[in-house]
């Protein structure tokens, strides 16, 4: 138990005999406060609500730090610390009042002017958006504001699908989509904007049709390109809010950096297996993605959804959270997810929240930024870009047809499957041994007797890394199956299931 000073604001001093500072013992901030209240009962109703929780309008500082940035009431205290009680001051005009017509509340977003000059809502729009218009926080003004706003979705996949649907339904005037994939059967488990009949179509064509059907008023801008340092600024520039629905680190850093440089909010979401994250990165008001992760993880450490799997509902939850934040930003209502990282775990069905702080040393948005433009993101993330991949060919590969021929001969090579056990269960090559990539370094001795090893995975990425590892460990006769078991099923054995 140590003794700390508690500093009281003027309104509460009369309850402690007029003193500005009083000494209290305790081990944590919470203990100090409860002893303070025990000694001066009158303080209780000012500091704590009926539930025993600290009142919303009371902030507690330990020395210079708000305890919400520390361990809240369980923050330990040391001898000589100063605990300050600071009231937040708020108020305002009567709740039922509305500003008179013709005197709009100015907005933070530059689009307010275009709202004022835009035509009134049509009869069809009044009917369509009636449930929004009933909300005083939206109303006709807010709905016109949504109609005058422009949102860019980077990625029209698991996150982009629900986000685009809800933003179009909400009446966002212009929705831009960046994607260059085609719809595949394996997308439909979570990318709810597409239907079975869309398989094989360009994603943007299908998405545009669906969004126009949902809300014909929405203008859909299609950017059927790979977002890159060369085109990102130009593509992002016209939009008010950027929604990051990317599935890879180079593009995520690119989106973050371009949004920071252009001074636009970046509504971030990411998903992996059963867990999701969301935040709003707005460097003007809080941290950016680089403040959170100054550098990307080494390539291969964090598997993509294509490798690790993802619960189909999960992007629905995270993507709709992104849509919620986007609509709030456009309306200028509520408390945005700025400076907070929301973590969601579907298995335990729990939301958690982490406080994020702006990193003063952030190269992009810190006090002395050193990065003033876009960089080479594939290189930054250690991912060879497709055009310049020098290592791709550096690993010996074997074509599916070549492997089939070798397997038919005497002394066939030892086949090693480096995928996960759940993928192995779907399909594997006869005679293969399962050694998931992560276990390979520990189980490499199982391979030493083999004269020749062929490694395969789903599409050839993981087997390439496994082959590189084996070469580094001194194996000489080792090759990676080009295109993985997917290519083998396509070229050699059409009876194999594909996923």
């Amino acid at each position: 138990m140590v003794s700390v000073q508690v500093r009281l604001p003027s309104p509460l001093r009369s309850f402690v005999g007029g003193a500005a500072v009083t000494d209290i013992d305790g081990d944590t901030v919470g203990e100090v406060l409860s002893r303070l209240v025990d000694r001066h009962r009158e303080l209780e109703r000012h500091l704590f609500g009926g539930t025993g929780q600290l009142r919303n309008f009371v902030s507690i500082y330990l020395n210079d730090e708000d305890i919400r940035h520390l361990q809240r009431e369980s923050t330990p205290v040391r001898s000589g610390d100063v605990v300050s009680i600071v009231p937040a001051i708020a108020g305002g005009a009567p709740a039922g009042a509305t500003p008179p017509a013709g005197r709009p509340a100015p907005s933070e977003l530059p689009l307010a002017d275009s709202v004022e000059t835009s035509p009134p809502l049509t009869g069809d729009q009044l009917r369509r958006y009636s449930r929004h218009l009933l909300l005083p926080e939206v109303g006709v003004r807010g709905q016109r504001r949504l109609r005058a706003s422009k949102v860019l979705l980077v990625g029209a996949g698991g996150l982009g699908s629900p986000a685009a649907l809800y933003l179009a339904a909400a009446g966002v005037g212009e929705i831009g989509l960046v994607d260059f994939d085609r719809v595949e059967a394996s997308n439909l488990q979570r990318q709810v904007i597409y239907g079975t009949h869309d398989i094989g179509r360009p994603k943007l064509d299908s998405a545009r049709d669906r969004l126009k059907d949902l809300n014909p008023d929405v203008v859909v801008r299609m950017h059927e390109v790979h977002l890159s340092s060369e085109n990102a600024m130009e593509i992002l520039r016209p939009y008010d809010v950027i929604v990051d629905g990317t599935d890879n680190f180079p593009t995520r850093y690119l989106v973050n950096d371009a949004a920071v440089l252009l001074g636009k909010p970046n509504v971030y979401g990411s998903i992996y297996r059963f867990e999701g994250q969301a935040s709003v990165f707005d460097a003007r008001k809080g941290p950016c993605y680089r403040c959170l992760y100054p550098e990307p993880p080494p390539p291969g450490l964090v598997p993509s959804c294509a490798e690790g799997g993802v619960l189909g509902v999960l992007p629905g939850i995270v993507g709709t959270i992104q849509a919620t934040e986007t609509v709030k930003l456009l309306l200028g209502v509520g408390e945005p997810l700025v400076g907070r990282l929301l973590l969601f775990d579907a298995l335990s069905l729990r939301f958690r929240e982490l406080r994020l702080r702006k990193n003063p040393d952030c190269v992009l948005c810190g006090t002395h930024p050193t990065q003033t433009g876009l960089i080479d993101y594939p290189a930054f993330c250690g991912v060879p870009s497709p055009a310049t991949a020098p290592e791709a060919g550096a690993v010996p590969e074997i074509a599916p047809e070549g492997l089939a021929a070798r397997l038919a001969q005497e002394e066939p090579p030892l086949l090693v499957d480096v995928r996960s056990p759940s993928e192995w269960e779907i399909v594997h090559l006869p005679g293969a041994t399962l050694i998931p990539l992560a276990e390979l370094p520990d189980r490499v001795t199982e391979l030493t007797h083999a004269r020749e090893v062929v490694v395969y995975c789903h599409k050839g990425n993981r087997s390439g890394r496994a082959t590189r590892l084996l070469l580094d460990l001194g194996f000489t006769h080792v090759a990676s199956l080009r295109g993985g078991i997917e290519a083998y099923a396509e070229k050699v054995d059409p009876t194999l299931p594909r996923y």
Partner: protein
Amino acid sequence: MKVVFPPTVVRDIRRHGEATYPEECCGFLIGPNGGATPGPERRVRRTIPAENRNESLRSRRFEIPPEELRQVERGLEGTDEAVLGFYHSHPDHPAVPSQFDQDHAWPWYTYVVLAVVGGRSGDFGAFELDPDERRFSPVPWTVEPVAVPER
């Protein structure tokens, strides 16, 4: 208790309210520290304008984060001055405290409300929480010139 304002303070509050219209303005009332139990008269000496940090509806709400209050109080440490209260404006609404004002009020402080109608400042009122702390009551106030030292 009576609150006394120099004309400069009234002028500054009016100007602030007109400048931020149609949003609410807000700020601090600063004056000699009368101690924990104020005497019969409270003299406001000057104001410190604050930025309205309400994120959602600044036309009808104001907010001064604790960190700002703390900074102002720190600046006054060691002087004879203290934060005596707060002022804010009601754009296009009368100069009476709202229920919201009352719900967020603290004892001891003086709250000044300024009506700004159509961009021009109007009525002006000073309020304090009753001793039972359930209701706001208007407190009498006057404007008195500051004593100008003789040349």
